[in-house]
């Protein structure tokens, strides 16, 4: 298999992005939907490019033994099942985000081709992050994603909040990228290589000699700071609420799932492969960060009156739960269930959070901004289906079974119990109860709040309905019948597929 085939999904996305930019020049303003169709095609072709060369790998679904990784592009990439899993996740999130954007951009009068081009480019960046096996490529992917997202956040030129958010995000993002790059450069200096595999070997040697070598610790601290910045964990979360609030709502949804998943893919690659020898040092750090994240985000979310900001804090809180999955395990060994929990969490989070943002996006029409909690008042009487699905998304975010969100939490807490972290597990579940309160605030507004000005039915466009339907069905389906998705994640991680469970005959 040649390198070109392996990176075909990324290349196709970039090509489509450029194509959209060109075709956009000839498209009259009333036909801008063509851009969305093209972007959708780009996503579709990219997915086909994943499916085609990897069909043998994917079809070897039950073959757990072979991890099936293909080094590509001079060993800078590792196209393994982990990467494919994340690629598919990014593409699914992007497809839904495109559906969300079509009517939204029309309402905002900002229907430009660059929007979709930037979106596809950022996905190309994410794919490099997920598949990267070399810190330089990972960093380039990160920057490609981040710079595209900065522009997207500020896409509403006439909206001051959007501009402010973009600037804040740009400054803090650039700052964190700087710290991250500094950490990576130290790692390179320490190990003499940019390849994660080599870094791992060299660090193992260093750690054996002296476990707390100062340079190594500084490198770890700076790298981890950069990583935590990107996934918005407390105390590096300040950019998230502002950027989420100011960005166009469809982009907020996209950022909260795809960009976050990419950050997680990068974090897992670097921590689990590159910095694994220093696990004993980063676990206590993560314990602190995850408790701080759960505490801070859940408390901050309580008082929010802006739905986007509330969901921003909720997404920070979810990072706190996910970090617990990395903590599970022993001092030197990760718990496979913990990583599995993170991957499932990201999967279900993609659908439920995008769904929630899709509903909020649909509230934006004519002169209503629609991102305050009060705008949700009486949504049930204006748009019953959307309201019920929003309730599903909220309960799923809160982790109520049998909805998808429960499964993410389930595997995280399972891994904690398995490895004996009882206190952390209790803390985590209690915070998730705490979280229910602010999700119920949204439910209360929708079902029990009164419509203020005798409003008519909410106009929801066809594409938006499709986005809400897809995410809603996915949330319910994964919740009720999670088995194939659990198997999918097992496959992505190369974990044994058939655990010893009680069989039909007792």
């Amino acid at each position: 298999m040649t390198d070109y085939l392996l990176v075909m999904p990324i290349t196709l996305l970039a090509l489509f992005a450029l194509g959209i930019l060109v075709i956009d020049l000839w498209t009259p303003p009333e036909d801008k939907w063509i851009n969305a169709v093209l972007a959708m095609c780009g996503v579709g072709f990219s997915a086909a490019a994943i499916w085609n060369p990897f069909r043998p790998t994917i079809l070897a679904f039950l073959d757990e033994r072979r991890l099936g990784g293909h080094p590509a592009m001079l060993n800078t990439m590792m196209v393994d099942r982990f990467a494919i899993y994340f690629w598919c996740l990014f593409l699914a999130a992007t497809a839904v985000a495109i559906l969300m954007s079509v009517s939204y951009l029309k309402t905002e009068h900002e229907n430009h081709g660059e929007y979709y081009a930037l979106m596809l480019l950022s996905v190309a960046g994410m794919m490099c992050m997920a598949a990267g096996f070399d810190i330089v490529l990972i960093f380039i992917g990160l920057e490609l994603m981040a710079i595209s997202t900065y522009v997207l956040v500020g896409f509403l030129r006439r909206d001051r909040r959007s501009n402010e958010a973009a600037l804040k995000y740009l400054l803090l993002g650039a700052f964190s990228s700087g710290i991250f790059a500094y950490g990576l450069s130290l790692l390179y200096g320490l190990t003499g290589s940019t390849n994660l595999g080599v870094i791992n070997q060299e660090l193992t040697r260093h750690v054996l000699n002296s476990p707390y070598k100062p340079v190594a610790v500084v490198a770890l601290l700076t790298t981890i700071t950069g990583l935590l910045f990107k996934i918005a964990a407390i105390p590096f979360h300040q950019w998230a609420p502002d950027a989420y609030e100011g960005a166009p709502t469809s982009i907020t949804g996209f950022m909260s799932v795809a960009v976050k998943a990419a950050g997680w893919a990068m974090l897992l690659r670097i921590l689990v492969i590159g910095l694994m020898p220093m696990r004993a040092i980063w676990v206590p750090l993560l314990v602190f960060v995850s408790i701080a994240t759960m505490t801070g985000a859940n408390f901050a979310a309580l008082t929010q009156t802006n739905t986007k900001r509330l969901l921003a804090y909720s997404s920070i809180a979810h990072v706190g739960y996910m970090l617990l999955g990395l903590i599970a395990g022993t001092a030197t060994q990760l718990s496979p269930d913990g990583i599995k929990g993170i991957l499932i969490y990201l999967l279900v989070y993609t659908f439920m959070n995008l769904g929630a943002f899709a509903v909020i996006t649909s509230l934006r029409h004519r002169n209503v901004v629609g991102d305050e909690l009060d705008d949700l008042n009486g949504l049930y009487s204006r748009a019953p289906v959307e309201a019920v699905l929003m309730l599903v998304f909220m309960l799923s975010l809160a982790g109520i079974p049998p909805l998808a969100g429960f499964w993410g939490k389930y595997f995280i807490f399972l891994s904690l119990i398995e490895s004996g972290h009882y206190v952390l597990a209790s803390l985590g579940v209690l915070y998730s109860v705490f979280g229910l309160y602010y999700y119920l605030k949204i439910a209360n507004a929708m079902f029990m709040g009164q419509v203020e000005k005798g409003e008519e039915r909410l106009p929801v466009s066809l594409t938006m309905r499709a986005a809400i339907a897809v995410t809603g069905i996915a949330t319910l389906y994964i919740g009720l019948l999670p088995n194939s998705f659990i198997q999918l994640v097992n496959w992505a991680l190369g974990i044994a597929q058939n655990p010893n469970v009680a069989r039909l005959t007792q």
Binding site: Y380, L395, I400, P401, P402, Y410, F413, L414, I417, E418, Y422, A425, S426, V429, L430, S432, V433, L436, Y437, L440, N444, F447, M448, L481, P482, N483, I486, Q487, N490, Q497, N498, P499, N500, V501, A502, R503, L504, Q506
Partner: protein
């Protein structure tokens, strides 16, 4: 039919809910008819279970088992397994009956958003039935949590003035307890895997390994695990001091919601104690180690007794009728938990019977309050007086139900409370002695309430024109009255149904306990000692004891 009867009972309400979704919401009367038909269908499909169950009532183990372990989510070992024993059988019948009654009682009470109301109610019905049927711990947990959502919406949308507060409080309180239970479940899951190498949530498998936690991990871990389950169940029951959500939820909920809340939801807590806490942690309960001067079991008894007295005293002081009934639930459920932790067959079967009784009596009390509220839109006791003059039928039914709730002989409450007290006295007479004032106080607050509301002349002119019960309203009470008299006059069949599961549970919790009047078929364990002569001699042969003894001969 027999193979799938539990699934049919479980999903009939849900089918009704889905069917209702396709009825246009303007068509209120059609919605009411359809909802009532499905609610009645839910009751009707559960009736064939009665003769089927009756035939196998002494057979050991769970009956009508459906599904198999790990058939739902094979990769984690969770299955869709349903099955019942005598305890869950009675609770299921109570649920289908009360579900129908409460939907019938909502006909005029609910005027706005009718369709949603019935949809959520039917969904709630399925959730509650699932809790009592699940034989897979995971399935149980899913039903246990999923059922909170419709209840939250019922309180929050159709409730009283403080509905939002009450709804959120209810949801958060119960969820906080149950997430800790999830951690406990996961611990049992891994423990089972350590012992047998198999990942499973199957209840029958966990019954074998869970008691070993005490010896494998020591008393502290076992006690903590017991507590993780205890919080979930104690909040649900609710035991003192976890009861504070209950008055709010009961008072704010619509009438039918209160009926279901008191009649069925609270029983999930006691059911959880019997089904999980007792057989999983027998050693924790028999552990003599004390905490703050009392053993774990001592604490359970203590909290039950405090609940009995406290609930009754607070009821005495209420100005709002619904609040009075709500606090009386705390007191009555105190009797139920007292009976459970007395750990005697009599106490346990009395406790289950009392749960059924409480569902019947308190359900009826909430209906009674609801009927008055619908006519006058106030529940203040001071607003009423002399109601028996204008609503004689209503007054009569109320009297019967009050007497049943306070435990007058010939009615159901007496049988339950008496059996519980008898079972408790056999264990420790002091516990029984502390609980007895609860019975007296119950008579006091109920009779005093009756006197203030029904006796005398009509002082408030607004009450002069109240019309008596409509045929529909009478229809909601008839089944409850029949059940109240049946259990009061002839409780033998109920004790027979309970005999096998209760004896089995006691034999697991206290292997050395001499079980009185054991039916041969009901006992699988061969190690049970013959009944100690002292106990069987001193206990008078009440109907519930002579019944099984007679049956022993016929079987």
């Amino acid at each position: 039919m027999q193979a799938h009867i539990l699934s049919i009972i479980l999903f009939t309400p849900l089918v009704g809910a889905i069917f209702l979704l396709f009825v246009p919401k303007e068509n209120k009367n059609a919605i009411r008819w359809i909802a009532n038909i499905f609610a009645l269908a839910g009751l009707v499909v559960s009736i064939p279970l009665v003769p089927m169950f009756w035939e196998q009532r002494f057979e050991p183990g769970f009956k009508f088992i459906e599904g198999a372990p790990s058939n739902w989510i094979p990769s984690i070992g969770a299955g869709y397994v349903l099955g019942i024993d005598g305890i869950s059988f009675l609770l299921i019948m109570l649920t289908t009956l009360l579900g129908w009654i409460s939907i019938l009682s909502s006909w005029t009470a609910i005027e706005n958003r009718v369709k949603e109301y019935y949809v959520w109610f039917l969904v709630l019905q399925t959730g509650m039935l699932g809790v009592f049927m699940a034989l897979d711990f995971f399935l149980f947990f899913v039903f246990w949590e999923a059922m909170l959502v419709p209840m939250y919406l019922l309180i929050g949308i159709w409730g009283g003035p403080r509905k939002l507060y009450a709804a959120i409080k209810f949801f958060l309180y119960t969820l906080a307890g149950s997430v800790l239970m999830l951690l406990g479940i996961l611990f049992l899951y891994f423990h089972h895997q350590h012992v047998t190498g198999i990942y499973t949530f199957s209840l029958q498998a966990l019954y074998d390994t869970a008691p070993r936690i005490y010896s494998d991990y020591g008393p502290h871990v076992a006690t903590l695990l017991f507590l993780s389950f205890f919080f979930a169940f104690a909040i649900k029951v609710p035991m003192f001091p976890f009861h504070t959500w209950l008055p709010d939820a009961h008072v704010e909920a619509p009438t039918a919601g209160s009926v279901i809340l008191a009649g069925v939801l609270l029983k999930m807590g006691t059911y959880g104690f019997i089904r999980f806490s007792l057989p999983f942690f027998p050693n924790v309960l028999s552990n003599p180690a004390t905490f703050l001067g009392m053993t774990v079991r001592g604490w359970m008894i203590f909290l039950s007794i405090v609940g009995i007295i406290y609930g009754a005293l607070v009821s005495l002081m209420q100005k709002d009728m619904k609040k009075l009934v709500a606090y009386s639930s705390v007191s009555h459920l105190g009797f139920c938990t007292l009976g459970i932790f007395a750990l005697t067959p009599l106490g346990l079967s009395g406790s289950v019977l009392q749960q059924i009784n409480h569902g019947i009596s308190t359900g009826a009390l909430f209906l009674i309050v609801g009927i008055l509220y619908e006519r006058r839109h106030t529940r203040e006791i001071a607003e009423y007086g002399g109601i028996s003059n204008v609503m004689p039928v209503y007054a009569t039914i109320t009297m019967i139900m009050f007497l049943s709730s306070m435990g007058l002989p010939l009615l159901n409450g007496f049988v339950g409370e008496f059996t519980i007290l008898q079972g408790t006295f056999m264990e420790n007479w002091k516990w029984g002695a502390w609980a007895v004032p609860g019975v007296v106080l119950a008579a006091a607050y109920l009779l005093w309430l009756y006197q203030r509301v029904f006796f005398g002349t009509v002082t408030n002119p607004k009450n002069e024109k109240l019309h008596d019960l409509t045929p529909r309203e009478v229809a909601t009470f008839v089944p409850l009255l029949i059940m109240a008299f049946w259990i009061g006059l002839y409780p033998k069949p109920f004790f027979q149904i309970l005999e096998q599961p209760v004896n089995h549970t006691i034999s697991v919790v206290r292997p050395d306990y001499p079980l009185p009047a054991v039916n041969a078929a009901a006992q699988t364990a061969t190690t049970v000692a013959p009944p100690s002569n002292m106990r069987s001699n001193t206990t008078p042969a009440t109907s519930e004891q002579s019944g099984p003894a007679k049956m022993k001969g016929t079987n």
